[in-house]
Symmetry: C2
Subunit: 308 residues, 2 copies
């Protein structure tokens, strides 16, 4: 079996070391490679278009991340080639940690208490009724479900919205563009976990964000392209929204001159909410390769019509 491996990241050696250990029977080529056309499988992160064009009758392309927006020109790939994204692979737990922290921080007003500490001010703030602190999750895939499951024991009222109809115990779900505005109305803290596709690009614009109630919070942990930065900034500046916790951005690294860096209502992190874990990811990909070799179906195959 022949694998073609490429990552735009800096940790290629970790991947290769793990792949050799878990799939000792495979020949692994790097890119560029004259043998790309003979690869049975490609494992890629942010591959150049030339790599994809050089592939021959590959059985599957594994994306080394959950979001396949990193694969250029998905629609140009031959339709019978499986494009496979990572599912969970240790990311769900990390995402549950990150979002739970953000929700608890906003609900319990720890930022306000940090400011009081700076001012040596001893003052107990009135507690907001939890029943009114509705957390709304955009996207109810593996990560959205993990976040909802993590928040449920804390007693937050939970809503989720997804493209296709989904059910999750203890979560009020809604579906499709016609129900999006109704979903947003009343959500005190919005968590964005949607994939970036042609349909979700720029979804969180001024009109949609304005459906949130006065003083709501926005947490974006999926892709920066879902959010119109300037629209969010206007709503933060004019007091319509109380704050944003942002881990992902249109341009990464976030340019030094971007207003997000020093906006008093923005908490940002450098795309660390859920990082790809090499060991877990390689184990998952190897298991899927063995399934395919045995002629069995696998999960995580990207639906080309929706782009995720």
């Amino acid at each position: 079996m022949r694998l073609l491996f490429y990552t735009a990241g800096s940790n290629a050696e970790s991947w290769l070391e793990a792949l050799r250990r878990v799939l000792p029977e495979a020949h692994i080529d790097g890119w560029p490679s004259a043998l790309a056309g003979e690869a049975d499988y490609a494992l890629v992160w942010k591959p150049p278009v030339e790599l994809l064009r050089a592939l021959g009758q590959v059985k599957a392309i594994f994306n080394l991340g959950a979001g396949v927006d990193s694969v250029p020109d998905v629609f140009a790939l031959p339709p019978d080639v499986r494009l496979v994204r990572l599912e969970d692979a240790g990311m769900a737990e990390q995402m549950a940690e990150y979002v739970s922290h953000a929700v608890l921080r906003r609900y319990r007003e720890f930022d306000a208490y940090a400011e009081q500490q700076r001012l040596s001010e001893w003052r107990q703030r009135p507690r907001r009724p939890k029943s009114e602190f509705i957390v709304g999750i955009l996207g109810l895939g593996v990560l959205g479900t993990a976040v909802a499951t993590a928040l449920a024991p804390f007693g937050f009222p939970l809503r989720a919205w997804s493209r296709t109809h989904k059910l999750l115990s203890g979560v009020a779900t809604s579906t499709g563009m016609s129900e999006l505005d109704g979903f947003l109305a009343g959500v005190r803290l919005l968590v964005c976990l949607l994939p970036l596709t042609s349909q979700t690009q720029g979804l969180l614009d001024r009109a949609r964000l304005s459906r949130l109630p006065q003083g709501a919070y926005v947490v974006n942990v999926s892709r920066g392209g879902l959010l119109i930065d300037d629209d969010l900034l206007v709503l933060l500046d004019n007091d319509r929204l109380a704050g944003a916790t942002l881990d992902v951005f249109r341009d990464e690294p976030l340019p030094p001159e971007h207003r997000f860096w020093h906006h008093p209502r923005v908490t940002l992190t450098p795309h660390v909410s859920a990082v790809t874990l090499v060991e877990e990811s390689v184990a998952q990909i190897a298991a899927k390769i063995r399934c395919l070799e045995a002629g069995r179906p696998i999960t995580g195959v990207v639906g080309r019509e929706y782009g995720y």
Copy 2:
């Protein structure tokens, strides 16, 4: 039935309104009262000693909080008078929120990321192995158990230490003073949820805190008297401990000149981790009064020999 009510807090009217609604059959006297000696039950928060001395054949004294260190001279009360503390009454969920936030914040280094944001520094920090981030809980009563239960789904390795032997699924428990040092060794984040008694006063001194590994964190959410402030400060100053999250203090409000206010490694809040909720507490006390009137046993009766 005659109740004597006293609180040192500012919300007496909320308590009285709820008591009249839930126990309409009761006569409620305030303090001072010439009828204190005829009270069947006393409901008190930080009562003066004179109030306790004025009580006659009271059937129970209900403390309007979880910690009965607020009742002066517990040992001087007639031994046959039940002293009853609040159990949970909405505090467990709040405590789970507060401690989960503190643990996630330290584990995921959100303070370091806040500093990076201040410096416009885009840098992903290496993730610490969760298997090494052992959370140790001192005290495994209602609140300690709630905290352990909240942290378990996040996958933190959990330990707990308590005076009496206790078992909790997924938590490595240890018991008694002889096992305390062994418990502390290896704990990356220590959560103190012990009651303040003559045995726990000053428990967290320099020797005990020095058993924690280099770079550990301390979270105190029970009572300030458990901790020797200057010992903690020495260990923070000399880099033995990485940080402390403190909600409770020897003197409250924390005096303006105290070093905790502006220490770069101290995050503090003004005793808000778990506040007494009037509705829930009155419902619990009323239910216990009805039990006692019917001759049935109740939980939450303070063991005088241990003081909690």
